[in-house]
Assembly symmetry: C2
Homo-oligomer: 171 residues x 2
DNA sequence: ATCATCTAGTTCGATTTCGAACAACTAGTT
DNA sequence: AACTAGTTGTTCGAAATCGAACTAGATGAT
């Protein structure tokens, strides 16, 4: 049975696109996770946390910002951060201006850890994604993802200026 | 510091592409999961299982095939299937020709369940992805994903004819 | 100042996730 | 037949995941 192009079904082309997308996102995330965990004892969320903090001013961010940027549910960030803390890769810092919150900061050891893990991560991203695309296709993919991402942001929280991803996520 | 286009780093464009990709795949999967679970008590893996079985000849597949097609780790499929069994949406059937294995099959109730859930799922896929793309972009995305998916298959299991996804996944 | 309301992060607990080891069977070899 | 190797699916257990409820502090209104 051929699907109609109505609102209630996916067209055959959409269906095919969706299936390929699901396959890719499933396999890529699982593979990267596995490699990172096996070789560096880090989940890809851990990697994201360390990377984000490493690039932030003073190597620190409010938990709220970190969670929003990485789209991590709050309890999950708390849990992941604790694990990293136990490994000495991150630390908490008081926030003078807001007694509720705290800063999440990456330590020297955390810096070393992410530098050590980066090649694995980069190699994985290359091997699973970019190696299969030429330069033009890579740029195209970037544009499509940017567009979808922006669309979702506008959709989910229409009030935001859509500069980054500071809002929503959960709460 | 500007990243070199060497093998060991991602170029700025690759970096940007990758980040958008991660955002999209994180948000989309979480949102779809949430909607499906809230409205129909199904995880998106459950949905995949039911959909795959519904389309299969005799509405049944070997566990191996089902798992390979959906890229689900074996113990995970066993677990998920049990849940669906308890809900009466799927059932096991003996496999005459191979005493080790069994067929996974969808029941009438399972059929009804997926028909009920499909509109939610389709609406979500539309809202999160296709609504933000025009027709040409949708086709483009499909091609890119197909290419990546095929590349990964060839990469991970170079022996396969790459017709489908019958091999690998885990063991 | 007091109260209601909002926000930041944490704690709890039920469920999910999945690698490793396993039991049951098949297939191929001698 | 007996033995080895490979496959199918399950069990086990440790860890991850995350909604809901919570504590503590900020913010705004009266």
């Amino acid at each position: 049975m051929v699907k109609k192009a109505s609102t209630h079904w996916l067209s055959d082309a959409e269906q095919a696109t969706w299936r390929h997308y699901v396959t890719v996102s499933t396999v890529v995330s699982r593979m990267l996770d596995r490699e990172l965990k096996e070789q560096h004892e880090l989940s890809s969320e851990d990697y994201g946390i360390l990377a984000m903090l490493s690039e932030a001013p003073d190597h620190q961010l409010r938990f709220r910002e970190l969670g929003a940027a990485l789209r991590l549910p709050k309890p999950f960030l708390t849990y992941r951060f604790q694990r990293l803390e136990q490994q000495g890769l991150v630390e908490r810092r008081e926030c003078g201006t807001d007694g509720r919150g705290a800063f999440a900061a990456v330590t020297e050891a955390g810096f070393d850890a992410i530098e050590a893990a980066a090649p694995t991560h980069v190699a994985g991203v290359r091997r699973f994604i970019f190696d299969h695309l030429d330069d033009q296709e890579m740029h195209l993919l970037g544009e499509l993802m940017a567009k979808i991402s922006a669309g979702i942001d506008a959709d989910v929280c229409p009030t935001t200026t859509a500069t980054g991803a500071e809002e929503c996520s959960d709460g």
